[in-house]
Amino acid sequence: MLRQDINELLTQTGPGTPMGDLFRQYWIPALLAEELPENDSPPVRVKLLSERLIAFRDSEGRYGLIDEFCAHRGASLWFGRNEGSGLRCPYHGWKYDVTGQCIEVPSEADNSSFCENVKLRAYPLVKVGDVLWTHMGDPAKRPDLPEFEFAHVPPEQTYTSKRWQQCNWLQAFEGGIDSSHVTFLHSGGLKSDPLFKGAKGNEYNMKDTKPFFEVADSEGGLFVGARRNAEEGSYYWRITPYVMPAFTMVPPRGDHPLHGHFWVPIDDENCWTYSFDYHPGRPLTAAERQAMIDGHGVHSKNIPGTYRPMANMDNDYLIDREAQKRGETYSGVAGIAMQDASLQESMGPIVDRTKERLVPADSGIIKARQKLRKAAIALRDEGVTPPGVDTAHHRVRSAAVVLPQAESFLDSCRDAIKATPGVPHSSV
């Protein structure tokens, strides 16, 4: 369980909240690059950390992320005309550039300096990999751009999708470090998902349903090791890295690509789940990429033209009790992503953590909450830069390995859990 005041501290990320300030220390995904596919493409509404913003790409290809509402009388700039190197409010014609600077107020005299004094709040928007990232904090403390491996391998080796999740970011994120649910909730997928099946490791997973856990601090966050019995005298380890505030990776399976998530608060009752797959050593095959587009693995099949999953809260996630009986899915919901989302959303928009009954196997979650709380308080009270801002902390990988029983996964996997360009990932 968690005290109510701590639950509020961790789940509220609007402006001026301690957790909101913590998120504003980092570059976070704001949208997928595909959402602004070309110069002067339509502007996109973006709500992040409870702030309503508009993203656009101007005639010169510059990206902007600015206050959604026109400084004149507050019309939404989603209706704006994106043309001539700026976004023009269609109501009375005020025009803004990507920095939020007003560059034209047609009702004023031709050479008036009035518009120089009108500037909308704006944040940087930078493409790294398939994602447009923003930093919503103090420009004087802007960190270097993110160095997560999925965003840095060549484009043919990586794929990122996103989906709207209708619950607070923390309960979605907690699923990402909760290795103990995999054997139950996702057991169907281990046998059938094209991006999971066939790995030797899956057999250990299925045979030993009571994993042991080790949770260890890392410079940027945590490593959570889940261990199951392998052959006589050895253990099968699945190692999940967590980089603060909201980046997690799933341990890989065989030569399938590596995958993971970035969990981004939209507001306190909604979040974006960014899901990526990449292979450090080779291009994704056409079949792999198609499987990702089709919503397999960690990805979801979304309603065309949106980032809302087809299976969602309004249709009970298309639950299929017959498929469940046949043993195809454990919960009746199809797909890893929606299996997670259905249960996390079912807890309610912000789960009441005073009512939980945690067990020792939840230690990864307990520790992650602790780290977030401490970092938010150290930032608020002493201005301490939190873990995960330093880009060196981004260079981690998940791993799945078989080790002799006496070995510690931290000692034996020092290289495996480091992202080293061109070096294949460690996976069984």
């Binding site: 369980m1 968690l2 209708q166 042991f212 856990f213 080790e214 949770v215 260890a216 601090d217 009752e269 809260m313 309004d314 249709n315 009970d316 959303e345 079912s346 807890m347 309610g348 928009p349 912000i350 009441d352 009512k355 939980e356 009954r357 945690l358 067990v359 020792p360 196997a361 939840d362 230690s363 307990i366 520790k367 909450r369 602790q370 401490k374 029983q405 006496a406 510690s408 931290l410």
Partner: protein, 167 residues
């Protein structure tokens, strides 16, 4: 796509904050009867500091090697007030044991307590406090038995673990 209930008996989903307010509230009884065992001197002082927390049933112990003569895995248990305790009595009626270590001096005791817990089907958690890392042997000794090993530089993690478990 309709948001109407599928069956008459399904009158609500916890889809909104207002719906989730209707969750039944009954006080949650502490479910755990925890024993916390400190394996070495520094762990014992951590145990002392956290022992006056808001615990319902948790009891705290220290553990020392038996004076020379006995077998290597022989050890003595004490309550924090110094009163000796017997392993069997201590483990009676408990369902979770948290073993704390800060160095390697308690390695053999960790293994002995761990296997005693395993034999009695008591869930065991190990909290190994320290920086990078002075307690490799203690970790290795706990590994076969502890459902969870928390390796941490932060002593408050022990407190938070107990609080989260409602002990």
């Amino acid at each position: 796509m309709s948001s109407l209930p599928m069956y008459a008996s399904e009158s609500a989903k916890a889809a909104s904050a207002s719906e989730s307010r209707y969750r039944i509230t009954v006080p949650i009884a502490p479910a755990r009867n925890a024993r916390v065992i400190a394996l070495d001197t520094r762990a014992a002082s951590v145990a002392r500091r956290i022992s006056d927390g808001p615990w319902a049933n948790a009891r705290f112990y220290t553990c020392e090697a038996a004076p020379d003569r006995g077998p290597a895995d022989e050890f003595l248990l004490y309550r924090l007030d110094g009163v000796p305790a017997a392993l069997d009595d201590m483990l009676r009626d408990t369902d979770v044991v948290v073993i704390m270590a800060t160095d390697d001096s308690g390695g053999t005791r960790a293994a002995a307590i761990g296997s005693a817990c395993s034999a009695r089907a008591i869930t065991t958690a190990g909290v190994v406090l320290g920086d990078g890392f002075e307690a490799d042997d203690a970790v290795a000794a706990l590994r076969p038995h502890a459902r969870v090993l928390l390796l941490s530089a932060d002593e408050s993690d022990a407190f938070e673990l107990l609080r989260a478990l409602r002990v």
